[in-house]
Subunit: 147 residues, 2 copies
């Protein structure tokens, strides 16, 4: 049997996807592989480039907060093939909105943190300048509790 050029062991797939070997088996069990994973001699898993591609998509979706059950649903729809495009699109649109919401939340947080950073930097600069001028100025108070 011609062993295809692209055949990969679970370890190689782990390297290429950034997932652990354990996680790969776990994902398979959770039904997020596109199709059944081929097995080589000795029952070892054999992956193709397609599997790697699918897994990398899964990694992206996970990395943006999609829970595994939802990824499984998407996988099932894709597996069913033609006729499920509308559902797949709807799922992706929902996820895109979730991603947008996350980005918005992060943006707001970043602004607040940024503001605090500036306040601290100004205060420390001020204190440094004071120390330079006065050689004994204690740090300015009032940076504590208030947001």
């Amino acid at each position: 049997m011609a062993e295809r050029e692209q055949d990969l062991s679970i370890g190689q797939v782990a390297e290429r996807t950034g997932l652990s070997v354990h996680a790969l088996r776990f994902y398979e069990q959770e039904g997020v592989m596109f199709g059944p994973v081929r097995r080589g001699p000795g029952g070892r898993r054999v992956y193709g480039e397609q599997d790697v591609g699918w897994l990398n998509l899964c990694v992206v979706l996970r990395g943006s907060g999609m829970p595994l059950p939802e990824i499984r649903r998407y996988t099932e729809l894709a597996r069913q093939g033609p006729g499920t495009e509308r559902d797949r699109l709807a799922l992706l649109l929902r996820h895109r909105e979730a991603v947008d919401a996350q980005m918005e939340q992060l943006r707001r947080c970043r602004e607040i943190v940024d503001h605090k950073v500036r306040v601290y930097e100004d205060a420390l600069d001020g204190a440094a300048a004071l120390a330079e001028a006065d050689a004994a100025g204690p740090a300015r108070p009032g940076l504590g509790r208030s947001a």
Copy 2:
């Protein structure tokens, strides 16, 4: 004792912060309150506006992925008052970087999802147009496995 205008019950604080009553007690126990929470008659917690402000900051930090132990560390530094500004600033800078990294990851993910959305929309539009023209065109294949 003059009951201050701003005194709030745990339930009111829950409303104002979006945290649950349970979570508020949990946060207190985890040491992320700025100071010890006052107690009213019958041992009930009494919060002031300052507490709400601090909690809202905690909510923002949590919402951007800062783990509770790190929030506790920040709280301890703030509690110690003057002299810890440099450490607080360093902590905030680190967190800002973490936030930036998250945003970057989300941005990349969003692009990928967006691309897939466009592909599906085009395909569905095409199918719709086909159906209009041909009245029997099946959905275009090739939307399955490839990323």
